[in-house]
Assembly symmetry: D2
């Protein structure tokens, strides 16, 4: 397995954003490590990318479980033969419930997936990034990163917390050459399920996952003199 | 034990803000429930208030442990004979560490104390508040509620998350008559330890815990037509 | 005319908030200077307060005209015989128009009323406040202070600008003993016109102008160790 | 003069960002209209771009003067033979003064340049953009867009106001196909004067104007399904 290419790891890979990120960074010259709870779901994506000549490794890993994340990164480092240069962290727990019904364990679970997992994954890639004075870590936020809406406490608490983590990391690690940015996705992504479920909607009223991935790529290639720490993305018709 | 007075519960009671809150709400006509990890520390405060004729109940409870919180509220309801009308939630975990050294368990612990405990405590008082269409829940935030500073990831993540919880609760519960507000404490409180440790500092460069408590009281007595959801508090010389 | 009492000046006095502020600060022991574009409208309020034994001076002044503001303050200082200790600044220009139709002069006018007038008025009271190391300046913001909504560019630009002014003043003047705070009014105030125009609405779904004024008063009496720079106010049922 | 290429107008063109924006959009296939107070300063840039085969028109225009802006756009439309498809608005007034010394006229001037001019320029390009359901307007913000620092009231008030204008326009015009975004430049740009004045500083501690321009270009080419409304840019070592 060729390991000369730098490695980008995508955590939280479904049919939408995660797959587009893998494609974009593969095209950009990266070997790709994919981490998802059900790695069998990753097979089609892996095959697609391998047929195009890219190196892809799919690993089972649960973002809400620190030791599972550590194991996944160990596998990636061993099998791809290097430390990742890019980390793209997407997972988030979603709960829509009245504050009276939200179980403390559900809140903990959402926090574990969104922010504790983000810390654990970052710690897997940071030592090499800091040593090399180079690296990119991009976190995926949501509307709920900026606003605690009614019945969205579980999501908002964990997304606010992730944003705090991103800021804190950016302030500490930026001067060490590691670019940490936070992307606020405000709207629905054009996953097959979303698009099929709302057949009358203008396709451009969904965020295009390839276009999101292009923005992540552009963040990654920014020179260190001119870094973005946060941006938002939404469809032109989205209310905000 | 007289139980005719309404009940205010203060969680997270040290020699600073918690004690001042207890005094202010006792003076305002409330029976006071105090919850702290070490309830023996609460004895002097309890005695002080009881000597003034106030009703005070001190209960051991760990904000980072959901079942401990539940037990503490059960005790308060049983012994004070009623559901609390006011909840004042102060606890927060503090960690100052490089992102490379912050252990995932430390982050979890901080999140448990700041936000999961806040949810659990709120759920103990909310059913009665919603039923009565009346109640006040005030959360204590910090500088780190708005800013993820370098090496403050643990505190910032949990304080951002608490702020999200407060917003989400305010949006859901406000229309049901429950006032949920978030107070951002930006600076050092005039606890004996802080003041003694910096003897050359102007006493007004520390937040006065009684003045903070007065602001909490003023939030509590706002009529429902004119509620504050968030405010900040800092000394006049504090940089911000 | 007795001039021993300290002076509070209210600029932008209509039947709602301005009148309530005048009443609250009069009750609190202040002589009141009122500045409005049409000072004849102030006669009933002045009479009401004078009958209660308060000292009130009504002065014609246009918040959008710097020299008019200067003249008004000259009159107040001369006739009430002292420098104001409190400034309460409410005026704002309102325009609801498509960005295509908003005239640059309308935007300028809104900026003049909201922010240039606020600067001019502040400069009339600040030299004495700084000299005395004491004073309170409170600015009235709106929903549009935090959000530029569609067709609200005129209001939002001027209210954002006022918020910037308030922050900048707070950071410079706080350490000199002058308390500068910004109050975000989010909702409709219970003016006779609003209430009559929506007879089916719960009265508590309007902000109560007396309750707002009480919050301004509480801000004013905060000790300098424990100052609020910004808070919001809204009815319990207000969407936000 | 060839007018088949779409037109991008840059307002506020100095040796730094404005010039880089002109180069980037020229390279991207646009004819360039340049508007500056002193159009003779634009000659070198115009020559440079013309030698590379680009179409450039330099026009004298004062961002703080609405009729001057109107005239400049009339000239551009007439001479380049079309309506602009892109507007890049950079001008801002800078004043660093104590709030006691900031003249109301200086504040007005800063507001005129930053926000009234931005409205006037936008209104010159919007009718065609709305008609075509297509166009990009990018506003240049600063650190002071988010924070009113001590002695920066003039800059902060006008930059806050510009941000409000950008939000209001984005919310109204987005659904009509016009992309309005706001870029927060947080740090010093690598203009010759800045770099020469601080010879010991790492060149990457200055924002690179070409890299900023690349980000503006990437904002411009985002598909309407996936638009950014706001992002920040700063050097890796910048404190924030």
């Amino acid at each position: 397995m060729a390991a000369k290419k730098p490695i980008a790891v995508v955590i939280g890979v479904g049919p939408g954003l995660g797959a587009s990120l893998a494609r974009r960074f593969a095209t950009g010259g990266y070997s790709i490590g994919l981490i998802a709870r059900n790695e069998s779901n990753l097979e089609p994506l892996q095959k697609e990318l391998e047929q195009q000549g890219h190196t892809v490794l799919s690993v089972k890993g649960d973002a809400g479980d620190v030791s599972s994340i550590k194991n996944a990164f160990n596998t990636i480092r061993t099998q791809l033969g290097n430390d990742p240069e890019v980390l793209l962290y997407n997972p988030s727990g979603f709960v829509y419930k009245s504050i009276l019904d939200l179980k403390p364990e559900e809140l903990q679970n959402s926090l574990n997936i969104s922010v504790v997992g983000a810390l654990a994954a970052s710690q897997e890639v940071l030592p090499a990034m800091v040593k090399n004075g180079k690296g990119t870590i991009l976190f995926t936020g949501a509307t709920a990163s900026l606003r605690g809406s009614s019945k969205f406490a579980g999501l908002a608490a964990s997304k606010f917390a992730l944003r705090a983590l991103a800021q804190s990391m950016a302030r500490e690690l930026g001067p060490q050459g590691v670019h940490v940015a936070h992307v606020i996705i405000d709207g629905q992504i054009n996953t097959p399920r979303q698009v099929k479920g709302q057949p009358d909607k203008d396709i451009d009223s969904f965020l295009n996952s390839d276009a999101i991935a292009e923005t992540y790529w552009q963040l990654h290639v920014q020179p260190r003199s001119t870094w973005t720490q946060e941006l938002d993305l939404r469809p032109y018709v989205e209310k905000f």
